[in-house]
């Protein structure tokens, strides 16, 4: 291994700093009282508190699932705090009032919340620990009738929309972590795009965990009404800490007739150090429902961070002629573990789904693709194509593929292809004799391997993703 790669490998996780702000953090522990306290702090209506309590009681009866191909020590749910907010954010009138310390944090992360973001045409909702600290471009969006705000704000200002759609895709009883999230969820983004409106800019949420000993339980809800279009991106970082932090988020997407939602994630939570100390447990439930005919939901994810990633962005293809897509690049290095994939549930007629998954394992990382394609008996004319490729870098890592294909209708056409291989010595040799260094060669081969997924990302983020990938992987080849 060359020394330049070595330095890169040992390079600090550049988002690992801690912001020193006064926080309002409730003591660790989880009980009905804690849930009432969270609800009271957020001044929520009674129906939402009831829903939280219902989820909590359900959660108490559930067992933490262990079927995923990951290992981690038991989580003590009483040991963490379920709410943490920078003191300075309440009440929030405009961005000018945001604590300058917080603004500096986001500048450091490369997410300036100020006006310059206007130039790049992206509206950002910034979530710091449990609350939203600011949303940009709201006025511009409001002109078109688009609602883009924190979920907490939406509960106050658009309760009818939230009540109608919250939990409609991921019910409070869906799974262990989704139930926990429903009980204690703090903030998240809410998007509503009205009938026939094409959202003119990328919407983006930036999630930041800062406080220690807290989990982050955000909940995002995106509704695209008939004929609407929206493209949404989330990014995430967290400080370096030697303890593990739990991130159990829920994302719900609803696409009505002729609507399209494109959801992209660049996940870069702190992954722990080389020996697997610390890092985020990223246990996330993401699901979209193509509720109306001709609707489309597309998930794109680049997963480079987290000690453990456990998520399956799914699409329920309920409307006739609806389309679900899943494009994923998951990279694991050092001691990272990822068990990720998708579910495509074909219910309507002539529904289509397309899955492209690229897994890269390096160091002692373990990477699993777990996907389900289910064609219900009434789903006439369903079509699925799945391609999942794995690349192994180094001989201590693992790549695993667990596809579940369940077909109950004979007009369905389902294809699954998977391959696993390493970067060929001959490929590297070829590129080296064309004047590239070994690292450049590997980076070029890897970006070629991931190209199909990166081309689905909005341009600015494709670039960022490519760099991230480089940082995560560099040093693992030599």
């Amino acid at each position: 291994m060359s020394s330049s790669i070595e330095t890169l490998v040992n390079r600090e996780y550049q988002y690992g700093f801690v912001t020193d702000v006064d926080t309002d953090t409730i003591p660790p522990g989880l009980s009905e009282a804690v849930i009432r306290l969270i609800s009271a702090k957020k001044q929520e209506p009674a129906w939402l508190l009831d829903w939280r309590l219902k989820a909590y009681r359900r959660w108490l009866t559930m067992k933490e699932p262990h079927w995923a191909n990951v290992t981690y020590p038991p989580i003590d749910y009483q040991e963490q705090s379920y709410y943490s907010a920078p003191k300075s954010v309440t009440p929030l009138q405009s961005l000018d009032e945001v604590d300058p310390e917080l603004l500096r944090t986001y500048e450091k992360l490369g997410i300036p919340l100020n006006e310059q973001k206007f130039l790049s045409g992206v509206a950002v909702d910034a979530i710091f620990d449990s609350v939203s600290v600011g949303t940009t471009m709201k006025a511009e969006l409001a002109e078109l009738g688009i609602i883009f705000c924190s979920l907490g704000e939406a509960v106050k200002e658009h309760p009818e929309l939230v009540e109608k759609y919250l939990g409609s895709v991921v019910p409070h009883s869906d799974n262990f972590f989704a139930a926990l999230n429903a009980a204690v969820f703090s903030d998240g983004s809410f998007v509503y795009v009205p009938k026939g409106v094409r959202c003119p800019m990328e919407l983006s949420t930036y999630f930041r965990i800062n406080a220690e000993g807290t989990g982050q339980f955000e909940r995002t809800l995106i509704v695209a009404d008939e004929g609407a279009y929206v493209s949404y991106l989330e990014g995430c970082t967290a400080p370096k800490r030697s303890t593990n932090q739990l991130h159990a988020a829920v994302v719900e997407l609803v696409a009505l007739k002729d609507a399209t939602i494109k959801y992209s994630t660049v996940q870069n939570w702190y992954a722990g150090d080389k020996e697997g100390q610390g890092g985020i447990y990223n246990f996330v439930t993401k699901r979209g429902k193509c509720a109306g005919a001709n609707s489309k939901i597309s998930w794109t994810q680049v997963e480079t961070g987290s000690a453990i990633t456990w998520k399956y962005p799914s699409v329920i293809l309920q409307g006739d002629n609806s389309t679900g897509e899943f494009y994923s690049v998951a990279v694991v290095n050092n001691r990272q573990q990822a068990d990720t994939g998708t579910k495509m549930i074909h219910i309507g007629r002539n529904t289509k789904s397309n899955i492209v998954s690229k897994g890269i394992s390096a160091g002692r990382g373990q990477n699993s693709y777990r996907g389900q394609v289910k064609v219900m008996p009434k789903a006439e004319g369903a079509r699925n194509y799945t391609q999942c490729d794995s690349m192994l870098v180094g001989n201590e890592c693992g790549a695993h593929t667990f596809p579940y294909i369940e077909v109950g209708n004979n007009s369905a056409q389902v294809e699954h292809e998977a391959s696993t291989s390493k970067i060929g010595e001959d490929q590297i040799f070829y590129l080296k004799q064309r004047g590239l260094s070994a690292e450049q060669a590997v980076s070029m081969i890897v970006s070629g391997f991931c190209k199909e997924v990166f081309k689905e990302l909005p341009m600015e983020f494709a670039l960022e993703a490519q760099q991230l990938l480089g940082i995560t992987l560099e040093g693992s080849v030599g």
Binding site: W67, P377, S390, L392, V393, G394, N395, E396, C397, G398, A399, H400, T401, F402, P403, Y404, I405, E406, V407, G408, N409, N410, S411, A412, Q413, V414, E415, H416, E417, A418, S419, T420, S421, K422
Partner: protein
């Protein structure tokens, strides 16, 4: 019910099984203990996710003990492929039938005999291998079979010997098998550079008689440079339940060529497991399953690449009609040391009717980096463009459909080297899918 088997075990240890050597008795005891601990798998068990064994678990199948059989040689004819000079052992309702068997003309150094005789003639070989290849840790049905080890076939081929003619182990059930369970336990040992073809057939001579359960386990070990061709043909009646496991361990440069043909039983599960333990091994696992009515046909395969420089090839095809339900679960596991592994796995299923259903789960688990592994799965009905093409060439729609269906199956049947079996199965498949 588990209790039925526990009680049955007590009775069995007192009389029928008492004659066995002590290692066999303690092996049985570990089998019943493990079976009691595991119980019948629920669909929450990942290995049985798509197959509910409730129809087996809820019934009481009594151990079949009667040694007398009323089956005639003529009744066996449909299952023997007319093979001349084959070495055949026949078991009726799980018990060896000397009258119907003929293992004459075997070369020196080759034994093909029932388990009871092998206890006397090959005691060391048995003690060395029985229960050492098939794991009972996670396999309820193997544990249950182990508890009742009493009869079955033992095949031993000494070093450098090639057995020219196929060895046919034919397990038939007649009307007396109804409500009973037969649990044959077979052992195949190929010494260095040996070569043999073993056919395991499971069939019913009294069709429509009623429900019975066959729970069979075959252990095989293939020595250095040896080649075992193993054909498992499951043609039980539509009322039968069948669980069959083949567990293989392969030595250096050895080859396993396995084919599983499953057409019978209300519910069947076939497990084919092989461990590539020495360098330079090859494993070819092929299969064909044909379902109709309300049949449930499940296959699980596991290829464990333990040593480097091995290859595996797998092709399983299925044709499902009526409201039948097919399951395929194929796992290729590459251990950290198994560099230069070359694995390829394919599962194609053709759904002929609207109510037919398939659950397929091809899995790759890879812990070595210098490997080349692929898998693919497809599910669909007959290709519209192929049908259109044939119609445009003047072939009527029905004939076109029949031809394409047959061709789909023939594609994997033609990998069977043994001509009698290949042609016999091809003819049976052709007959099944053509109306004339």
């Amino acid at each position: 019910m588990i209790e039925t088997y526990l009680k049955g075990f007590e009775a069995f240890s007192r009389n029928g099984g008492a004659a066995a050597p002590s290692w066999a008795r303690s092996l049985r005891l570990s089998g019943i203990t493990r079976f009691e601990e595991l119980g019948f798998p629920s669909t929450r068990n990942e290995d049985w996710h798509f197959t509910s064994v409730a129809p087996i678990a809820e019934r009481d199948f009594a151990p079949l003990t009667s040694a007398t059989s009323g089956v005639s040689a003529a009744q066996l004819a449909p299952f023997t492929f007319g093979g001349e000079g084959w070495h055949t052992l026949v078991f009726v309702n799980g018990r060896y039938d000397a009258g119907l068997s003929s293992a004459a003309g075997l070369p020196d150094g080759v034994s093909v005999l029932p388990l009871a005789r092998a206890y006397d003639e090959l005691p060391l070989l048995l003690e060395q291998h029985v229960g050492r290849i098939a794991s009972i840790d996670a396999h309820t049905f193997t544990a249950l079979n182990t508890a009742f080890i009493n009869d079955g076939a033992v095949v031993h081929v000494g070093k450098d010997i090639e057995v020219a003619r196929p060895i046919h182990l034919l397990f038939v059930s007649d009307a007396k098998a109804v409500d009973g369970i037969a649990q044959p336990r077979n052992l195949i040992v190929l010494d260095r550079f040996a070569k043999a073809t073993v056919i395991e057939s499971y069939a019913t001579v009294a069709r429509g008689a009623g429900a019975y359960f066959t729970n069979t386990v075959t252990e095989a070990t293939i020595g250095e440079g040896a080649t075992l061709t193993h054909l498992k043909l499951q043609r039980e009646s539509a009322q039968a339940y069948h669980v069959g496991t083949l567990d293989v361990q392969q030595g250096r440069d050895s080859h396993l060529v396995s084919f599983s043909f499953a057409i019978g039983a209300a519910l069947s599960r076939t497990n084919v497991y092989t461990e590539l333990r020495g360098e330079g091994c090859g494993a070819t696992l092929n299969g064909l399953y044909l379902g109709d009515d309300r049949q449930h046909i499940d296959h699980q395969t596991r290829i464990e690449h333990i040593a480097p420089n091995c290859y595996s090839r797998e092709l399983y095809k299925g044709i499902l009609d009526g409201a039948s339900h097919g399951v395929f679960n194929g796992k290729v596991y590459v251990h950290p040391a198994a560099q230069k592994t070359d694995g390829k796995q394919t599962n194609n299923t053709l759904l002929l009717s609207e109510r037919a259903q398939i659950d397929t789960k091809p899995q790759l688990e890879i812990f070595a980096d210098d490997v080349k592994c692929t898998h693919g799965a497809t599910v669909g009905r007959l290709d519209e463009t192929s049908l259109f093409y044939m119609k445009s060439r003047g072939i009527n729609a029905r004939t076109a459909r029949e031809l394409l269906t047959y061709a789909f199956a023939a594609d994997v049947l033609e990998t069977i080297e043994l001509a009698e079996v290949r042609e016999g199965l091809e003819a049976a498949v052709l007959k099944r899918y053509t109306e004339s």
